[in-house]
Amino acid sequence: MIKEGYKWIIIFVVFSIPTIFFENRLYMFILASFFAIFAMSWSFFTSFSGYLNLGHVIFIGLAGYTTAIFNYHLDFPIFPSIIIGVIVGSGVGWLYLYPLHRKISGLSFEMVTFLSILVLSDLVLTSYLRPITGGDLGISPIDTLLSSYPLAIGLTAFMCITGYLFVIFLKSDYGKVLDFARENRDLVKTAGLDPHKYSGLCLLFSGIVGAIGGALYIHFSGSAGVKNTFNLGLMIHIIILAIIGGRFSMFGSLIGAYMVVFLEEILRGFVSGPIENIIIYSLGFLVYFFSPEGLLPRIVSLKNILPLNKDSVADNRRY
């Protein structure tokens, strides 16, 4: 536990230092931290519970719209709005997804979560909700978290604390049960344990972090709309970040987010938006095809730190 803590302190230091030297790129570091938080929180549930959650943006979107509504329509100050957004986003999102994951799994769960995003993305655009959600234009302007050094450091700290807590959870008895549950739920049931209790808790933590990230992200963006909330593209983007870095480790998802956000920034100077997307999606495709565990385990294994052949050593799980 202490060793893991030191590891995440080092990660915090390593990812904070560049913000000092590249102040003109502060925006990119903040954006990368947001996407790292999204990728880690998605990966935490999906990779370790065995449910492919295509509806993680439900947490982000509910929190985002709620904070924007309270801030814009009800004139709540920014931080109370964010707190309400997080409570509503994680609470309502969990109350919706928890029963679903108890009842259905596999392709059914994937399809239902996928369709949920499509329903929500159109729901906020309907004329009935337009007075509240702002329709196509979204809710704007809302109080904005400016790109600043304290925000960058604060977000990096939150990202690292989240990563640390996720790893501690996965190494606890809860994580041990999840290791079995994602492979075979009957095995867990006949051990006298309710597998859904464990995956449900995992979903809750994943949702809380996703909702915190979502509420902050909306105020960083300055508006709440479909594009930065209930958006299939955003969902796919989050998945690709985790896949590229390595979705079976929290640090892998984090690295994936930083790599892609900075790669996108570099590409932006040379190619158009669609070409940029093609390159990123293709990168995700190639990584998933050639190294399904992501780039981080591949890179680390080159240094013989982490053996790739996990089957040869029982319990060789890294998070």
Partner: protein, 238 residues
């Protein structure tokens, strides 16, 4: 209550279970006494596995009651049934490749927070104490079946259902398994319901045998008697 003063630990009363197009269990009555080793035999597809999976809670019966230790199990989930003392081993050993034998045994101890020492003691009971750090996928069949027993023991069962535990084992291996199971029955006071096609092993193990065919109980009694029963002969030979 069963015969005499011995209490029935498990009573299956008039249980019925149908799957689309198939009546898998038809008015099944079964009473197993505490401390007994009961054999449950029958031809392929007779309903043996359906019955124990219904008792365990994998299937919900359409009609009837299952009473364990005086408690009606009808509304209990699988994990709740395990917590009150029911356990089951799978015909094909069920494990997660990449997780050690230690972790597999540890999983069942989590409900009662047993110390590490308990895991070692359980492993010793099934002669796996030297293999605790190994991957179950690398185990030979006998050891994998022992792991099934160890997993069941980790939940501290009082009533253990064994699904084809002798399947695939040689005569010598079967004899070793019988020793383990008889020890569990006598020393750990675990009641056993044994399902198996290997009648020579069943004969060596059981106090009493029940025969099921086409989802119905057709005979019950001492193994030597029921094997001479005309209905049983007809079920097996046709």
């Amino acid at each position: 209550m069963g015969n005499g003063d011995i209490m029935a630990i498990l009573e299956v009363k008039n249980v019925e279970k149908s799957f689309p197009g198939v009546k898998a269990l038809n008015r099944v009555d079964l009473s197993v006494e505490e401390g007994e080793i009961r054999g449950l035999i029958g031809p392929n597809g007779s309903g043996k596995t359906t019955l124990i999976r219904t008792i365990m809670g994998f299937y919900e019966q359409d009609n009837g009651d299952i009473i364990y230790n005086g408690n009606n199990l009808n509304n209990l989930k699988i994990w709740d049934r395990v917590k009150i003392g029911l356990s089951l081993t799978y015909q094909n050993p069920l494990y997660v490749s990449g997780l050690s034998i230690y972790r597999h045994i540890e999983l069942g101890t989590m409900t009662h927070r047993s110390p590490k020492q308990t895991i070692l003691e359980i492993a010793k009971e099934v002669y796996l104490e030297d293999k605790l750090q190994e991957d179950p996928s690398e185990l030979p069949l006998l050891s994998a079946k022992r792991l099934e027993i160890a997993k069941a023991l980790s939940t501290e069962p009082k009533f253990l259902m064994l699904d084809e535990i002798f399947a695939g084992l040689s005569y010598e291996e079967g004899a070793q398994m019988i020793n383990i199971l008889k020890k569990l029955n006598t020393e750990n006071q675990i009641t056993i319901l044994l399902i198996d096609h290997n009648l020579s092993m069943v004969k060596k193990m059981v106090d009493k045998t029940t025969v099921i065919d086409m989802g119905e109980i057709i005979a019950e009694g001492a193994f030597e008697d029921i094997i001479e029963n005309d209905k049983v002969k007809k079920a097996y030979v046709g």
